[in-house]
């Protein structure tokens, strides 16, 4: 029982002084990548919206939401 209590106290990483800084440095990397991902997500939704407008303008029928199996099949065959 006391062993379990001791284990509960020990942190997963060496969270003494040094550990905090190392974690912070690697978190910076993660945040940079995530910020980039979110910027790309914004751009993607904007492109989707524009293409939707252009589709309407060109008078083509709206694409129906595809069933998942069909979409997966489309993706695996190279376009």
């Amino acid at each position: 029982m006391s062993a379990v209590l001791v284990l509960a106290e020990v942190p997963a990483l060496p969270l003494n002084e040094a550990g905090k800084y190392v974690a912070a440095a690697y978190i910076v990397l993660v945040i940079i990548i995530l910020i980039y991902v979110s910027i790309m997500a914004i751009r993607l939704s904007r492109i989707e919206r524009e293409l939707g407008e252009l589709l309407e303008l060109s008078g083509a029928p709206k694409p129906e939401p595809e069933p998942a199996a069909l979409a997966a099949h489309q993706e695996s065959t190279p376009a």
């Binding site: 060496p14 003494n16 002084e17 040094a18 550990g19 800084y21 190392v22 912070a24 440095a25 690697y26 910076v28 990397l29 940079i32 990548i33 980039y36 790309m40 751009r43 993607l44 492109i47 524009e50 293409l51 252009l54 303008l57 060109s58």
Partner: protein
């Protein structure tokens, strides 16, 4: 097609990153002097090296642009420099964190790499304002290329000058990459490869996105005519992109 091969590239990048991080935390031994803090080395130094190489590659693309007048080279130059700037910021922040952990200060002047970086960062931070400030797209690309080449030549020159000015006065704070034991060297090499792949993937991603947007705009112009396209939101520093000639060979 800028996006060709992007999928395989990104998968390789993920694998390399996972391998690198595992090596850093599970394989590389603790360093004698700095202990656990030294592990920042495996992310800080690759970020720095890749950012610098990126700036030089951006200069090479700029030379290609001036030689061939093909605007796709200018686009590559712009994206490479932009991405290198982001990686340089990452290198500065991680270097600052390392300095704080080692010395207790957020900034140290006697670490020549950090100082050179700051100067290079300040220089390239003017790249986008320069582009923003020139309206004619052809002139913008041309002037940006001249700047990229000048700045690319500046990077090594700057490093030499700064290193000369600090070398004989203070010992290096953060240590170099010479005489590393084998396991550390392996970890470092893998980290370097992973960050390189990350850089290339992100650049390719960015190029594909810009190209796609240019294609959408061209499609809009064709469907609606010139007056139909909405005015470009604000000013833009993005180089104009042709849609047919550009990117036929991918990145």
């Amino acid at each position: 097609m800028y996006g060709k091969g992007l999928r395989s590239l990104s998968i390789v990048t993920v694998a390399a990153m996972a391998l690198a991080l595992s090596l850093v935390f599970f394989y590389a031994p603790l360093e004698a002097e700095q202990g656990f803090l030294q592990k920042i080395f495996y992310i800080h130094v690759p970020l720095a090296i890749i950012a610098l190489c990126g700036f030089v590659v951006g200069a090479l693309f700029a030379i290609a642009h001036l030689r061939t007048r093909d605007s796709s080279w200018d686009m590559r130059s712009y994206v490479t420099i932009h991405m290198s700037l982001i990686f340089a910021v990452g290198a500065l922040i991680t270097g600052s964190i390392w300095a704080k952990g080692s010395w207790g200060h957020w900034w140290v002047w006697n670490e020549p790499t950090l100082v050179s970086f700051l100067i290079v960062f300040l220089l390239y931070a003017t790249y986008q304002p320069l582009r923003f400030a020139i309206e004619d797209p052809e002139r913008q690309s041309r002037y940006a290329s001249v700047f990229a080449i000048t700045a690319g030549a500046f990077v090594p020159m700057n490093f030499i000058a700064v290193r000369l000015s600090t070398a004989y006065l203070h010992p290096r704070v953060l240590g170099g990459t010479s005489n590393l034991p084998g396991s550390m060297r392996l970890t470092f090499m893998v980290s370097l490869a992973a960050v390189t792949l990350l850089f290339v993937t992100m650049c390719k991603y960015e190029l594909t996105a810009k190209h796609t947007r240019a294609q959408v705009r061209a499609l809009r112009r064709r469907l609606v005519g010139e007056d139909g396209s909405p005015a470009r939101r604000g000013r833009t520093a993005v180089p104009a992109m042709g849609t047919q000639a550009a990117g036929r060979s991918g990145l």
